[in-house]
């Protein structure tokens, strides 16, 4: 039996998600993925908003009004968090590509920074929209 098949044989099959540990880097990385999917889902709405806002004065007014209802504000906040976290975590990845911040201590600190900054930017947006 070669190394690969041996490893496959001992690979755990039923992962108990509650018993896995989530270090800060895992949270940062998972949130990067979730925010990426969210941004992809937001894209059609953004294209629609851009299109309406450029169509004419009435479309522009309609887009300005759309931002008032509670649901639109909540969606805008989710979008702001997703964009902020995705961009910051992406920059963290790019820095790792050129070998900056790959050591465990620095990687943990940068993961904390990204997670916290994402939430801070969300709070700033909350203040601006409220």
């Amino acid at each position: 039996m070669n190394e690969l098949t041996r490893r496959r044989a001992v690979r755990p099959r039923f992962l108990n998600l509650l018993r896995l540990r989530y270090p800060v880097g895992a949270v940062c990385s998972f949130a990067h993925r979730v925010s990426g999917v969210l941004l992809a889902l937001f894209a059609p709405a953004l294209v629609w908003l851009l299109r309406r806002s450029l169509e004419g004065p009435s479309g522009y007014e309609a887009v300005a009004r759309v931002m008032h209802p509670f649901l639109a504000k909540a969606a805008a906040l989710v979008f702001v968090w997703a964009l902020a976290h995705h961009v910051l975590a992406g920059v963290r990845h790019l820095l790792k590509d050129i070998d900056r911040g790959s050591s465990l201590a620095v990687a943990r600190r940068s993961a904390w920074t990204v997670n916290v900054l994402g939430v801070l930017i969300l709070l700033l947006a909350l203040g601006a929209l409220a």
């Binding site: 993925r33 990426g36 999917v37 941004l39 992809a40 894209a43 059609p44 294209v47 629609w48 851009l50 299109r51 806002s53 450029l54 004419g56 004065p57 522009y60 007014e61 961009v87 992406g90 920059v91 790019l94 590509d97």
Partner: protein, 109 residues
């Protein structure tokens, strides 16, 4: 699985598009802060001005490529049965293609 040779590997497309989008966002943010458009006419002039039209079009292309690589990675990681996987990839491709058409209509309109 045998890798399909391509001119640009997916991870490089992902990185280059990310870098371009980052620079574009900083540029757009700076331009926004220089002159915040107020009202329809100012907004239209701001959004369709020559100094942002081409960068914005490139941004949209980068976004679509970046979205394709990212969503493809998510599908390859979580969906293993081949028919389901191909179906999901086709769905994402159709979604992004529709988005590309909509974006092209806005940018040329």
């Amino acid at each position: 699985m045998k890798r399909i040779p391509s001119a640009l590997p997916a991870w490089l497309v992902q990185r280059l598009s990310a870098l371009y989008m980052l620079l574009f966002l900083l540029y757009a943010l700076g331009r926004w802060n220089l002159a915040r458009p107020d009202g329809y006419a100012a907004w239209r002039a701001w959004a369709l001005h020559a100094s942002i039209r081409l960068p914005l079009a490139l941004f949209c292309i980068a976004l679509l490529l970046h979205g394709w690589v990212g969503l493809r990675d998510v599908i390859l990681d979580y969906i293993h049965p081949v028919p389901l996987r191909l179906g999901a990839l086709a769905l994402v491709a159709a979604y992004l293609a529709a988005l590309a058409v909509a974006v092209a209509q806005v940018l040329t309109g």
